[in-house]
């Protein structure tokens, strides 16, 4: 993105080191394993401290003030409400679905509908929690309390998106982003999103083209009974992930440029090519490392059990204790692989992506930040508990 030379722009920098993140993840991953995943609240707190602290705006690091304990408490509170809500609504929806459709086959889908409003509720609350625990120059960010209205707005836009076969998705994204942005403040400064959702439509057309063009051509070819040609068109769908990444980056740029806080405005020079390169290199690295680890673990396991087949043959004669041990071993290996994966994902994907988006950002008229004043701390009982229980926590 070219800069108009007249404006003075400030670029944030990113300083998080891969090494310290790796050891942080490695250590907390072990704790996580030992606690059957309950350490995750503290793990996330520490990784956020790492990421936030690495971001510098005019030399000042962002500060993350959330705690693991409040996340754990929030999670417990969310479980109490969700257990009752999900239990009653899921069985109720299934029952009503049976009654109204006369027992149609797809009725099972109906019973999962009550989750949808919760997802938006949880996302809003989670973002609000994270912002309320973020400080720059000792000044807090905040977001006003409006999660219930957000759910209704989101459901309305979701309905429009579905009815328009996805064409109106950027409209939904724009208005939800606007809803959240317009309720966000840095200290006493209100954040605003201005402009029109049409700006998102052009990049979105590429995604639509990647879905609908192959589908339409395939339909025509199938109608003419040219099966080979139709199968060939299905290959067109492999461009979809690229178009999706392109759209994500483009919409980030557009939405960033539509935002302002006080007199401060932003531009972003994030590039699709760089993001794709980070993903591909990152997954390649992870793949190579995982393969090496799997090979080592595999050979050790083979050495220990003499021959791999012996385990299978001995299965029937194993005692209860043996079964329990085998079960435990399988669980441990599963957990180990899973959590190692997430550690490497943080180091090779999340951090490089964060670094790219931070360092390509430009903050215009940053001197206006000097005018900001502090505001009261939000007391936030349930933290991001809903998002955590429903697994919609987002990237960090």
């Amino acid at each position: 993105m070219e800069q108009p030379p007249a404006r003075e722009a400030l670029a944030p920098s990113y300083h998080g080191s891969g090494g310290s993140l790796f050891w942080l993840m490695f250590r907390t991953t072990i704790y996580n394993l030992l606690t059957l995943g309950f350490y995750r609240f503290w793990q996330r707190t520490k990784t956020r401290q790492h990421f936030w602290n690495g971001i510098r705006v005019a030399g000042s690091p962002l500060e993350y003030t959330g705690t693991g304990l409040e996340k754990f408490l929030g999670f417990l509170i969310a479980v109490v409400f969700l257990a009752v809500y999900l239990g009653l609504f899921q069985i109720g929806f299934f029952f009503l679905g049976l009654k109204l459709t006369g027992g149609a086959e797809w009725v099972g889908v109906v019973s999962s509908l009550p989750v949808i409003p919760l997802v938006y509720y949880a996302q809003y609350r989670a973002q609000r929690y994270v912002l309320s625990r973020t400080q720059l120059r000792g000044i807090r960010f905040s977001m006003s309390q409006d999660a219930v209205r957000y759910v209704f707005v989101a459901l309305w836009h979701l309905l429009l998106t579905v009815l328009s076969f996805g064409i109106l998705y950027p409209r939904m994204q724009w208005y939800l982003e606007k809803f959240r942005t317009d309720r966000t403040s840095y200290g006493t400064m209100r954040m605003l999103l201005t402009g029109s959702w049409f700006s998102l439509l052009r990049p979105w057309l590429r995604v639509l083209a990647c879905v609908y063009l192959p589908a339409i051509v395939m339909g025509i070819l199938l109608y003419q009974d040219k099966k080979v040609g139709a199968g060939f068109m299905a290959l067109g769908l492999i461009f979809l992930p690229f178009a999706w990444v392109y759209y994500r980056v483009a919409s980030f740029r557009i939405l960033t440029e539509a935002k302002s806080v006080g007199g401060v405005s932003f531009t972003s020079g994030a590039r699709t090519g760089s993001v794709l390169a980070i993903y591909m290199l990152g997954y390649l690295l992870i793949g190579v490392i995982m393969t090496v680890i799997a090979t080592i673990v595999g050979s050790v396991a083979t050495l220990v059990s003499d021959t791999p087949t012996k385990v299978v043959v001995g299965w029937e004669t194993l005692t209860d204790l043996g079964q329990l041990l085998t079960f435990g071993l399988i669980m441990a290996v599963y957990l180990g692989i899973f959590l190692t994966w997430s550690a490497m994902h943080a180091v090779f994907i999340s951090q490089p992506l964060l670094s790219h988006f931070v360092t390509t950002l430009l903050i215009h008229d940053a001197q206006e930040l000097d005018l900001v004043r502090q505001r009261e701390q939000d007391d936030f009982l349930e933290a991001e508990g809903f998002a955590d229980a429903l697994d919609v926590g987002g990237a960090f």
Binding site: G16, G54, G59, P61, E63, I77, I139, D320
Partner: protein, 369 residues
Amino acid sequence: MGSPARYFDGYSGKPRQVTIAVGTSTLAISALDDGRQIENWAFSDLRALPGGVKDGVFTLARKQGDARVECDDSVLLRDLRRQVRGLTRGPMRRRGTGRIALWAGGAVGALGVMIFALIPRLAVGLTDLIEPSIEMQMGDQVRGRLADISPFLMQDRSRACVAPEGRKALSLMVARLTEDMDLPYALQVEVWDADIVNAITLPGGRVIFFNDLIAQADSAEEVAGVLAHEIGHVAHRDGLRLSLRAAGSAGLLGLIVGDASGGAAAIVAAEQLLNASYTRDAEAAADEFAFALLDGADVDVAALGGFFERIGAEIGEPSGVAQHFATHPDLALRADQARSFGNSGTIHPILTDVQWQDLRQICDQTAPL
């Protein structure tokens, strides 16, 4: 002589250039321009913010409050580390142990009440409110799905057995058992040609026998025993009830692991355990029902016991840990229960020898499913 640093007072976003100096028990913060002291933080009140950055920049704060000092003098930081104990401890905040314990109890309690009490009871109540016609339509669809996937489950033998004499014998058996019974819907019993020693009940009164069960049975009474058990599932509307329960409790245990952090496998196991225990209860109830039904129809109850025993010997009993994951109660126990239930009246054969042979040959003639 202090180190250059940047100070934020916690009220304004405007930075002030300051110098900071480590004293004997305090950190003095003074303005760079006129040298006047702005603040003097006691060591006991001082903390360094956590962060994984190794480029030397660190932030100092008090135990409470939003004032911050940013500095990159590593000598000063080392000095502070030596003099201030617990420098990297977090800010002061309320302890939450009591609240944590309270809500943890609440979370476990809410999940327990929902999964073990409320949802099973709701499933029972709501089952009564569903018209039999709806359940029959569900059953038809499930049968359709089964027929679709049966080639994969039963190799190429996935056909319905329709030899007329065999079907006649089967309906005689059904009629004898359901003589004066008030079922929510008509029973639809059929035999599929497959090497599975089992019978299943679908919602809406559909019972499917797999032919190997009939082939392995020693007598018509053994088949009648299994049929009575399946009729028990029909009378209790188990298919619909368990579907409602599964819909209600779907994902509830998954709440505990929350985001994908590896506990997922434990949850899968726990859910399996839970489902199995519910299914076992339903099986035990169907057994009870079957014993009474057979006795009422003057059919030998003990024959079912013999059948259970033989199947048990053949497939091997799950033992120990595995037993908790098994959906059916242990077969030896069921055999004992059948024998001890016994018959209160005289026993009459359910089929003649000829009819029994007809039933055994029901798969001589097959039709597509």
